[in-house]
Every structure is written in C-alpha cells, then in structure tokens.
C-alpha cells in the first residue's frame, strides 16, 4: 500500500513538474505593511503643596512616533511655583532619536535644554543619551547622561513601578536621582549626587487613557548640594502632597 501511494505521489510530481518559481509583480501591494504609530503620555500633571506651604504645578510628559525599532521622542518635565512671580522652570525638554537595541531597552540620543523660562536667563543646552525601557522586575526606567556646552557631565535616573491594587487602580512608587560627574559653576551644580526624590501615588483609572491620582513625595539635596543649601540656610529636604492626573492619547 505504501509503495503504491509513493508511486502515486511521484507520478503527480512528474506530471506537474513544469512548475517554476513565481515572481510576485513589484506593483502589487505588500501583504503586510510596517506599522507606524505614536503616543503622547502625560505621566504626571499635578498640583503640589509643599511643607513650606508653596503651591507648585508640575508636568512630566513623553511623546513618541515611529515604528518598532526606530522612534522619535520628545520628553519634557518642569514646574511652576504659583504666585511667586517667577517664570516656569524647565527641568528638561529633549528631542531624541531612539533605537530598540534589546527586547526591553531603547538607546536614545538627542539634544535638550533646561533652565528658567525667561528672556533674561541663560538656558542650559546639552546633548543627551538615554537608556530607556523596562528593567527586570518590571521597573520602568529612564537613565540619562547629559553633557552641556561647557563640557559638564550630569546624569539622571528615573524609575517607576506599578503595584496593581485592583484591575483599575495602582500604587506607584517613583524614584528620581540626579547628580553631576563634574562641577558646574555657571549652573550652580556641585559634583556628586545632587538630589533624590521619592514619590508614592495612588491612581484610579476612569479609563485606560485617563486616571487621576493623589500622592506624596519626599525630596532631599545630597552631598555637596546639601552642604550648599545648608550654607545658604535653605532647607535640605522637602515633603509635599500632590494631586493630579495621568493621561495619554
């Protein structure tokens, strides 16, 4: 039986052996196209009440557009102290190109600016590289190394973690750490670790795209920055309450 089947199969092959490779005409559409998309995420848009009874508006956003491997990023973070007559303080405004270099990590490079938004002051311009992604144990991280026009090198680490309380509410610890490898006279940054900021937010999703939250934070100047603050008789640490919203589109 097997032999007969084999012969039958081969006879089919012989009869049809005129088969040749079929070229797909180049003007036909691709069956599957590369997809390009993007997202603008305002991770934190919040109102802060500090222990010094100051009110501060804070934002932290990231937007990207691109494919799976290459993306263009815009990151911006800053704050505005209310009723102090001072202009808005930009902690960072960066434009970066990004490449996926490991399944969970992007390497990003670009340019940025920070400083107080007013015509009189000097914004600090810098080049930046970031290692951006999801670390083992599900920490979302943004690790940046910056070098400014004067050659001063500084770094910033941001990490967020999400603890799911219910299907639509989360407890989110957050850590931000900054420091300088070299001292910057012009921008009043001593070398070493500059500051650490810990936050904890409780967020409730109204929808996947809009979730208000409440929370608190604690921040502290570190090392030489703390000494400088003490010298100026400023407080070294600060705590505060926040309320705000995370939203994206």
């Amino acid at each position: 039986m097997k032999i007969i089947n084999t012969i039958a199969a081969w006879s089919i092959v012989v009869v049809c052996s005129t088969a040749v490779a079929q070229e797909i005409p180049s003007d036909w559409p691709q069956p599957i196209k590369e997809s390009y998309t993007g997202r603008v995420l305002f991770d934190r848009v919040e109102y802060t009440r500090t222990d010094d009874e100051e009110n501060v508006g804070v934002w932290d956003m990231v937007g990207w557009y691109g494919g799976d491997t290459y993306r263009l990023y815009f990151k911006s973070e800053g704050e505005n102290k209310q009723d102090d007559g001072e202009p808005t303080d930009i902690e960072r405004a960066e434009l970066l190109v990004s490449k996926l270099i490991m399944p969970f990590w992007e390497l990003q490079a670009g340019i940025g600016a920070r400083g107080t938004l007013s015509s009189g002051t000097n914004m600090e311009n810098y080049a930046v590289i970031s290692f951006y992604g999801l670390a083992p144990y599900q920490f979302e991280m943004d690790n940046s190394l910056m070098i400014n026009e004067d050659g001063d090198i500084s770094f910033a680490v941001e990490a967020e973690y999400e603890i799911r309380v219910t299907q639509t509410s989360y407890l989110q610890p957050r850590l931000a750490l900054s420091g300088s490898l070299s001292k910057s006279e012009r921008f009043e940054r001593p070398s070493g670790f500059n500051s650490v900021r810990l936050g904890l937010r409780y967020r409730v999703e109204f929808s996947r795209k809009f979730s208000p939250y409440v929370g608190m934070y604690w921040s502290r100047n570190l090392g030489n920055s703390a000494d400088a603050a003490r010298l100026n008789e400023e407080s070294v640490s600060e705590t505060g309450f926040v309320f705000g919203a995370r939203f994206w589109f």
Binding site: I12, C16, A19, W28, P31, I32, E34, L100, R164
Partner: protein
C-alpha cells in the same frame, strides 16, 4: 417588580414572534443562513435551500458575492460591519466535491478587498491573498475566482486585506461529499466570531502603544495575598519574582478580551440566544467554525457528549469528548445525539474567561436552559516558560507535562533537539523557550483540571491514509517569536517587513516543518494551499490547515509540497499577523 413584568412580556412577545414565523424572523437578521431548522436530508437539495434561505445560502457553479459596508444591527447595537451580499457574517457558501465553481466577488468598499477560501486546495492565484496571489480587488472592481472543488467538509472564508476580517468580512463554507451524505439526520453551522464597536485600527494601536490595554484580569494585591496564604510567603514571592524578572505576565492569555469584544454565534450575541432545532431521536451534525479575529473558544454542550468526526474539514476517526478548544480559524465537525426532547446550552467561552456566547439546542424555539458560569481566569505555569522539565523548578507550579510524562506517547519531534544561538532571536523576541516540549496531549491553559473529556491534538487520528507517505526529504524549522511589550510578532525574531525572500519548499519534496513556540501566547499557525499532517504519533496522522501551538511547545508537521506558487503562512490571530507574524512560502 416592574422589571420582571417587562421581561416576562418581552419573553412572551419573543416566543410569539418565533412561533409565528421563525423564518421571517431570522431572515430579517444577520446570517440568515443560520436557520433554526438547519438542514435535513429532506431539505438537502439546492433548490430547497434557495427558497428557504434567499440570499443567505449561495450555491451552484456561478456565485456572485458583493462586498459592502453598511449600517447593521449587531451585538446589541448598531454599527457598520462589512457585509457580503448584505449579510455579516456573510452568506453560507454550499459547494459539492467535484464541481467547478466560478465566484465573482464585487467590491463596493472604499478600500481594496479580497476573499481567501480558508483550507482550500486550489491554484495559488485563486487563493485570495493580496500581494501574493493577486493584487487584490479594487473598489468597484470584480474578481472572478475559478477553481475545482477537490475536497469536502466544513471551511470558511474571510478577507485577507488589512483588518477587514474584524469587521465581519467572513462566512462559512460547506462542501458536501460527492454522494451528498451529511452523516447525520440534521446539521447546523455554528460560526463563532468576536465583534468590537471600536475601529480595528484603534484596537491595533492600543495593543501597540499600551501593553495589557484590554486585560482586566491581571494579578492584583488581593491575588498575591491569596497566593501567600496558599503557598507560603517564600514560594509565592519566588514565583512572582520569576515572572517579574522575566518581565512576563502569567495572565496574558488573550490580547483582546471581552472588555471590548461581544462574542457572537452565527452573528448573534448571547442575549439573542440563537437556537438550533432538532426532532427527538435525531442525530445532529454541528459544524463548528472559529471565525474570530483573536479569540480561542472552549465549546461544550453541558449534558451532551460530542463525537468529533472531522477536524479542519478533514475526516478523523470518531472520538467522543465533552469539550473542545477551538483555536482561531480551526473547524471541527461533531455529531450529537440529544436525549428525548431536552434543551441544551451551546456554550462557548473565551479562553481567557472574559466572556462567552451561547445558543440553545432544543426541540422548540424560545427554550433556554441554565447558562454555565465563566470559569476562573487561568494562569500560565512553568511549562509556558519552556522550563517544563527543569528539575530546579520542582515544587513550583506543576506543569501537566511532568504529571503525564509516564504514559506519554513519544512523537517524532521529541527526538529533535532545538538549538538557539546565543543572542536568541534579537529584539523581536522577548523570550526563548529554553526547553521546548511536545504538548499535544495537554488540553491547554485553563482546561488542565476539568473533570471531563477535552479534545486533545493527540486524540486526532486521520480517517484514511493520505496519498503521500514518503519520508521527509527537507526539514525546515521556524520559531514563533514575539515582543509583547511593543506588540511585535514574528517568525525567528523577524517581522515580515524584515525578511528578504520567502521560505522555500522544493516542489515535489516531502517537507518536515518544525515549529517552536518561543512566546508566552498560544498561536494558531495557518499554511495556505497545502495540508499539514500533524506528527502526533498516530497513523494516519490528522491533517490540518491550522495548527495551534501552546507556549514553549514544539511540533513537527509533514507537508507534501505539491502546490506550485507562492502561499501565505502566518499566525491567524489577526493582530499578530498585522504585526508581522507572516511569511511567504514559495513552492518551486
């Protein structure tokens, strides 16, 4: 209560409508082919079908189909599905083995469209995949598909253009054997599908930019506390740490869930309660088709066992089970013998337990019986990580592989070692299965502990030997890979847009195709134009058009490369395919 009264009245009106004119009622709805009476030997001839169903059933040597998008009542709301001849799901195409058919498809959409005849053996240029078989059907154009029907059984058709399938551009096909015997006194088609009121492109974007967007059954603090109570603090934390370390989610069962989907049976939602009628003492053939875009269904009829007689349209040696997991794009034919004049629930729940659809099998319209509760959300265990037999994992979640290893039949793929190179599959693969195993004798996630018979791939035995029994002369290995975080899906870590050239099958050769699932998801893998004989250790092997792989599973398939041309080969989860889990197979 007022509510109760209204409900009673509604039920009464419903019943009256049904008994008043069952046919008129169903004809006003989508999928009018799903007549409660079904089809019996007495109504088997084509003329009878045409008078009973109008446009709902099309047959003959020339068939005209018109694709359009129109406002329709669907899933309890009004939306704009894609219709074929005014129906969504489209008409039932009824063919007969041995005939030639000429199907003229006219496109009244604004975009290019296509129809692919899923599971058909035909010339590659009639296969209906834009960019491979033909350029597609432009708006207001007509394409004539012409081919000989060389097989029989239960199949289906769907658009192969973009995400149109999600909009209801699909329908059932039955090919009667040349003698016309349906193998039972009556038959019904049960076409399962998933419907969303969101734009499919929005769904795809949500998956791309926000992992877990549709998953509302994730682990929470509450689950962690329960787990600690059950397993002890250290074990629970260790298990959680392992998933967290891998950045994987044990509850990632289906990407798109009941949070956006309404599940449909023959185009109707659960509340409509589509009814299949039978007469006492009849045997009933149910032709189950999973025409979903993304949903695996577990189908059962509480109180009634099912004799499975065909898989993917191809006859198998009858096997009696109580439940069947139907992967996306698979079809199964079962014969049931209802007792007396009982009413039964036809129950299909999604694999992730986020929803269900039901109908009723009954001797009278309007009957309904208790609807089973959804089962608890299952979680993936160690076997999913491809660590099924690693001894260091003992004491952790038990994998079925370990438990059943004693009476397991050795299948060829178990003797084939799977090698991964050092850097895995690149950025497109967030994991590799370090120790993939054969899992054909496992029922699949969430069914491990059910106390009745679940159909296993290892149960499938072909009804007859297939003509080509040569030993394979060419071996091809492909790995199913993905990066869930970015919703990248691929073979061997490369999306379709990243590969140069097709997978080459040498014409006339016998191919052994080894598939290894290096991801944490189940994937229904579909080869166009040729059968895949599943090497499950049975003779004859069952042959299928769609093979579902569990996480970290390896399978081997035998293929006779007897169909010259270019063919699509892809994951049949619609958004996985769109994300790049797609290859061209060239037979030359």
């Amino acid at each position: 209560m007022n509510n109760k009264k209204t409900n009673e009245r509604r039920r009464f009106i419903k019943k009256m409508t049904y008994s008043g004119s069952a046919l008129a009622f169903t004809n006003s709805m989508s999928a009018s082919w799903a007549n409660p009476i079904g089809r019996t030997k007495a109504t088997a001839d084509a003329a009878d079908l045409t008078t009973n169903y109008g446009d709902g059933v099309v047959s003959g040597n020339t068939i005209d189909l018109t694709v359009a998008q129109q406002s329709k009542r669907i899933a309890g709301g009004i939306s704009n599905p894609i219709t074929v001849n005014g129906l969504s799901p489209g008409p039932l195409i009824r063919l007969r083995e041995g005939q030639s058919v000429n199907i003229n498809v006219t496109n009244h959409l604004k975009d290019s469209t296509s129809i692919h005849w899923h599971g058909f053996i035909l010339p590659f240029n009639m296969d209906g995949v834009p960019g491979i078989a033909f350029p597609g059907i432009e708006p207001n154009a007509t394409f004539s598909y012409q081919f000989d029907v060389k097989q029989n059984g239960t199949y289906w058709y769907h658009s192969h253009s973009g995400l149109q399938e999600q909009l209801g551009h699909l329908g059932p096909i039955i090919i009667d054997p040349s003698d016309g015997d349906i193998g039972a006194d009556r038959e019904h088609v049960i076409l399962l599908s998933d419907w969303t009121f969101e734009d499919p492109h929005t769904v795809f974007r949500h998956l791309k930019v926000a992992e877990g967007y549709y998953n509302y059954q994730q682990r929470t603090i509450k689950d962690t506390v329960a787990e600690i109570k059950k397993q002890g603090l250290m074990n629970a934390l260790k298990e959680r740490a392992m998933w967290a370390e891998m950045r994987m989610n044990p509850r990632d069962i289906l990407d798109v869930t009941g949070s956006t989907y309404t599940y449909l049976m023959n185009g109707r939602d659960a509340s409509t309660n589509w009814t299949a009628l039978y007469k006492p003492n009849e045997s009933v053939r149910l032709r189950l088709i999973n025409g979903s875009a993304m949903t695996y269904f577990d189908f059962r009829i509480p109180g009634l066992e099912m004799m499975v007689v065909a898989a993917d349209g191809q006859p198998i040696k009858p096997v009696t089970v109580d439940e069947i997991r139907i992967a996306v794009a698979e079809t199964y034919d079962v014969i049931v013998k209802p007792k007396g004049a009982t009413a039964y629930t036809l129950y299909a729940q999604s694999m992730d337990r986020s929803g269900y659809v039901r109908g009723t099998l009954s001797t009278e319209l309007g009957a309904q019986v208790k609807i089973p509760a959804l089962r608890a959300m299952p979680e993936r265990g160690m076997a999913a990580m491809g660590m099924g037999s690693m001894s260091s994992m003992d004491g952790m979640a038990h994998s079925a592989t370990m438990d059943m290893s004693t009476n397991k039949k050795i299948v060829p793929v178990e003797n084939i070692a799977i090698e991964h190179n050092d850097n895995g599959h690149g950025v497109g693969a967030s994991m590799i299965a370090s120790n993939p195993t054969s899992r054909l004798d496992e029922p699949g996630i969430g069914l491990e502990d059910v106390e009745h018979r679940v159909l296993l791939y290892s149960d499938l035995v072909g009804a007859n030997p297939w003509p080509d029994e040569r030993e394979p002369s060419q071996t091809i290995e492909l790995h199913l890979t993905g990066n869930m975080e970015r919703y990248m899906w691929s073979f061997d870590g490369l999306k379709f847009s990243e590969v140069k050239g097709p997978v080459n099958f040498k014409y006339g050769e016998r191919i052994r195709l080894i598939l290894v699932n290096d991801s944490m998801m189940d994937h229904p893998i579909h080869l166009h134009g040729m059968w895949m004989e599943l090497e499950n250790g049975n003779y004859p092997a069952p042959r299928k058009h769609t093979i579902s792989l569990k996480p970290s599973e390896k399978v081997s398939l035998l293929i006779s490369a007897d169909a010259p041309g270019n063919w699509a080969f892809h994951c049949h989860l619609l958004y996985h395919m769109e994300a790049g889990m797609f290859r061209i197979v060239s037979v030359s």
